[in-house]
Amino acid sequence: MRDRTLWTWHIFAGAVILVFLGLHMTIMHLNGTFPTFNNPFGGEAESWQNVAARARNLFFTVTYVVMLGAALYHGLFGLRNILLELDPGAGLRRSINVALSVLGLALFAFGAWVAATAPGVVSRMGG
């Protein structure tokens, strides 16, 4: 794909991250200001009950996957910008493109599996 298309998706992904990561940061780190905002059990946002409750909520599952994809794309494209601007030469340029694509897809597959799996399911299966 040409840089124009990739760049346009980079901006679009940035807008998606702005909304969802803004929400994520509000829930996790501004919980002092908004105490019960999606922390159904109150207290620490990262306590097990709150984490498990969010993980069972379909809204959070979907937004985690969307945010994961958008953030991976946005971040790795930004890294590609920086690496390519260091003038790596034609061969390395190609390797950077391939390596970042593979890394992104692998992390997305892993992260999406985690988000779509019920909390604690692996330990219940004896894994």
């Binding site: 124009r4 298309t5 760049w7 346009t8 910008n81 390519l84 601007e85 003038d87």
Partner: protein
């Protein structure tokens, strides 16, 4: 009262003699500087008094030709357009424009910039090749349409923007602010029909996507051309084109020529009243 006092300034000049020096080095020359003296005048003084082999490029000495772009006290400027007094320093450090190779002393190798400029086809492109090569007339254009590119057409290709651009500092693949700005100057000209041809290069890695708006090119431009503005407008154009939002108009048509026939109802001139 204007300050008429003569003061002494020290010129720190970046010298490099190809075939002799392995690396460029600094040399210092102390000269008298009357008020109103430009950096270019100072260079002539140094050449006359101390360094006859000193080399630089200059021509018009009035900010028109774009030959004397140099790195003056850390900032790319035209030597002829910069008075020593405005530097507010007793030291005038002059080096060749960075991000270009050094040919000798203060002479940068501008070839890569002009090559990138050429590749982006900085001229009107018409569907009718016959008309493009041997024009028979003028094209329609309103004053409003002229204003859409006039600012960018004041570019004198001095290369100051290329020397200030952070991306140019590492990436020789990037076309750079001057060539991209000029590509936009023609893309936004209503007489031009070459958007699709230039897009071939602009939508790839050499296009405006390596610009992140550090804004330097526009801050240093000695003609107020604002290449950063042109590049951002170009991105809008290209992204709108990708999203099928770009309004496409055919290139402006030729102005109708006078048909050459004399009107028949024009009365004849009255007979002469003065004889002799």
């Amino acid at each position: 009262m204007p300050d008429t006092r003569m003061k002494q300034v020290v010129f720190h000049l970046r010298r490099y003699e190809p075939g002799k020096d392995r690396e460029p080095h600094w040399e210092q020359y102390k000269i008298d500087s009357p008020p109103g003296m430009t950096v270019l005048d100072g260079l002539w003084k140094v050449k006359e008094l101390f360094a006859p082999t000193l080399a630089w490029r200059s021509s018009c000495r009035m900010g028109i030709c774009g030959s004397c772009g140099m790195l003056i006290n850390g900032r790319p400027r035209l030597a002829c357009n910069t008075q020593i007094s405005e530097l507010q320093s007793d030291v005038v450090a002059v080096g060749p424009l960075p991000n270009f190779g050094i040919i000798k002393d203060l002479v940068p190798d501008l070839h890569p910039m002009f090559e990138a400029h050429r590749e982006l086809m900085p001229y009107l492109i018409r569907e009718d090749l016959q008309e493009q090569d041997s024009p028979t007339g003028e094209y329609w254009q309103t004053p409003h349409e002229l204003e859409r590119y006039l600012q960018f057409s004041y570019c004198i290709k001095c290369g100051c923007c290329m020397a200030a651009c952070p991306t140019m500092a590492t990436d020789p693949q990037y076309s750079g602010p001057m060539p991209l700005g000029q590509a936009h100057r023609y893309n936004s000209d209503t007489r031009d029909g070459g958007f699709a041809k230039r897009r071939e290069l602009l939508e790839g890695g050499r296009g405006p996507w390596r610009c992140h708006f550090a804004g330097e090119c526009s801050q240093v431009c000695p003609k107020g051309v604002d290449p950063a503005k042109a590049i951002q407008m170009m991105k809008q154009d290209l992204v709108f084109d990708l999203l099928k939002l770009r309004v496409r108009k055919p290139a402006a048509r030729l102005v109708d020529k006078p048909c050459g026939k004399r009107r028949e109802d024009i009365p004849a001139a009255p007979p002469r009243t003065v004889t002799g």
